[in-house]
Amino acid sequence: MHRYVLRFTALGYLLVVLLAPLSMVFWRAFDDGAGHLWRSLSDPNTVHALKITLLITAIAVPLNTLFGVICALAIVRQRFPGAGIVNALVDLPLALSPVVVGLSLFLLFGRTGWFGPWFDDHGIQILFALPSMVIATIFVSLPFVAREVVPTLREIGDEQEQAAHTLGAGPWATFWRITLPSIRWAVIYGVVLTTARCLGEYGAVAVVSGHIEGQTETATLRVQDAYENFDLPGAYGISLVLAVLSVAVLVGITLLKPKEAR
């Protein structure tokens, strides 16, 4: 009986908060017809923007995954002083409004910023080019893998690793054969969340990108652009592509998981 109550509650909540808005995106993308949608999606600037989004995601996700796993292991398995602060620092990027992220990058790399002049003198462009967009995206998507892995690591405990240690296994072998398989779902969901966040990032990247058509626009910037020009089907259409990509990553990575013997 209570199983149906729980199911009804969950599905009701999801319907109102998630599924209805998502259906709207899907529905409205085709408001002007599939032909118009295709034309708007195949605009060279939009295609380029999607490539830029994918490129940034391809850089940020592996880096944040590597960091997330290592950081989680350090926080849970090593009792170092300040672990609590490190833990809180990992979540902090989320508390920064995207505009503020952009502002802080201006403060660091702008014409009058801390490091701006140095990079200017050496001819390296950080702001209004790919590097700052990547940094901003890494920043906003930093917490997810770590946050997923930490509770799971705490949950499973380290008996198996202790056992391996007494059997003479080195740290790498222990990690690869025992720890990693046991946190695979956490890593999977962490990667999926990180990827989704990278695909959907707008605010911080908008501030540092410079909006240069055909060069520094991401897919989300094109969505904003379409909205500004009253092309709502176009805006929803690009969003739909991002949604499909995100789901594809989830499906793909779930299929990729290493087999386990249970």
Partner: protein
């Protein structure tokens, strides 16, 4: 046991493919400019028409072989970006206030507003967008503060459009004979009727089109732009209204100052002015303006930011828009704050 060797193999292939893809994307994404390149940084509404103007200019001798990088976004955001290093040879913004930001950053000459047509590329006016048929009969500034009327205007601290709206409201009252104090009180009264202060003009238009409010104070060019994009929007030009002057300026640090100036000249000349008029902007070129006089009626009470009651952007900024000491900050506090009635 774990079938780790097969999985390692498969995972390795996937990883290699991902790296290869990333490198291919990086190669494809790098820009390879040849010949002269101009960088145009503009605010969002003229994006469509500027694209056309650039294309037309590239057919002329002056523009042949010149590629033009274009960037469009919210006016103040764009100005700040240029101040922080966004490469630009020329800017086309929605307020002189934003150009002054660049003057203060040392990037634009102080005499930018002494160029042709006072440094202006196109004009528009402050209008009232109303519901179809104008059911509440909104025609003048006095109508906006009738009981029960709900007004939409953007937030003055983030939107250039809002600044024009406020100065228009104030200036209209002054021109009708009110004193400085009375006109300021009118603006406060107006803001008691505001139900949404969106962060940009476009967002405010969206709020209005979504069904909120009885009247939206906006640019004529914004209203016409929405119409051109299929939105059913009706507007009224009040008798007392402000001429919104949209500035275009060259950056003195530009390596292509001459080319940039040639482009600006083109924008102020007939073919470009004609395009601007078609896309909802009032031309500054007198001949083109006469040609489109029916589309863009004038009003007897039209005034500019340089008008004696306002005194130009620098003065207006100091009096009205300082974040903590300006009149708007005080008005926002009076209307919404803890001491509000």
């Amino acid at each position: 046991m774990f079938s780790i060797s097969i999985d390692k193999h498969r995972n390795r292939i996937v990883l290699a493919a991902a790296v290869a893809a990333a490198l291919a994307l990086a190669a494809g994404a790098a820009a390879h400019p040849t010949g002269t390149t101009l960088s145009l940084v503009g605010y969002s509404t003229p994006k469509a028409v500027m694209g056309k103007i650039v294309q037309a200019w590239q057919q002329t001798p002056a523009g042949t072989g010149v590629s033009v990088n274009q960037s469009y976004g919210a006016s103040t955001d764009q100005a700040r970006a240029v101040a922080q290093g966004l490469k630009a040879d020329l800017v086309f913004l929605s307020t002189g206030d934003d150009v002054n930001l660049l003057v203060d950053a040392g990037l634009v000459n102080q005499n930018w507003d002494e160029q042709a047509y006072d440094g202006i590329a196109a004009d528009t006016v402050v209008v009232f967008a109303v519901r179809p048929g104008n059911p509440k009969h909104i025609k003048s500034w006095a109508d906006l503060v009738r009981p029960g009327i709900q007004v939409i205007t953007p937030n003055p601290f983030s939107s250039g459009s809002a600044k024009w709206n406020i100065l228009a409201a104030y200036g209209a009252e002054r021109r009708l004979g009110k004193t400085d104090k009375q006109a300021t009180q009118y603006v406060e009264q107006l803001f008691r009727h505001v139900v949404s202060q969106d962060l940009s003009g476009r967002n405010a238009t969206n709020t209005f089109l979504a069904g909120k409010g009885d009247v939206l104070i906006t640019y004529e060019s914004e209203a016409l732009n929405s119409r051109m994009n299929g939105q059913d929007i009706q507007y009224v030009i009040p008798r007392q209204t402000m001429l919104i002057q949209l500035p275009i300026a060259v950056l003195k640090s530009s390596p292509n100052v001459d080319k940039a100036n040639r482009f600006i000249q083109y924008v102020k000349s007939d073919p470009a002015q004609d395009l601007l008029a078609q896309y909802g902007f009032r031309p500054v070129d007198p001949r083109t303006a006469k040609k489109y006089a029916d589309k863009y009626p004038t009003r007897p009470g039209m005034f500019k930011v340089g008008d004696k009651y306002i005194g130009g952007w620098r003065a207006a900024d100091k009096v009205w828009f300082q974040p903590t000491t300006g009149r708007m900050a005080k008005i926002e506090q009076a209307v919404g704050g803890p001491t509000a009635g």
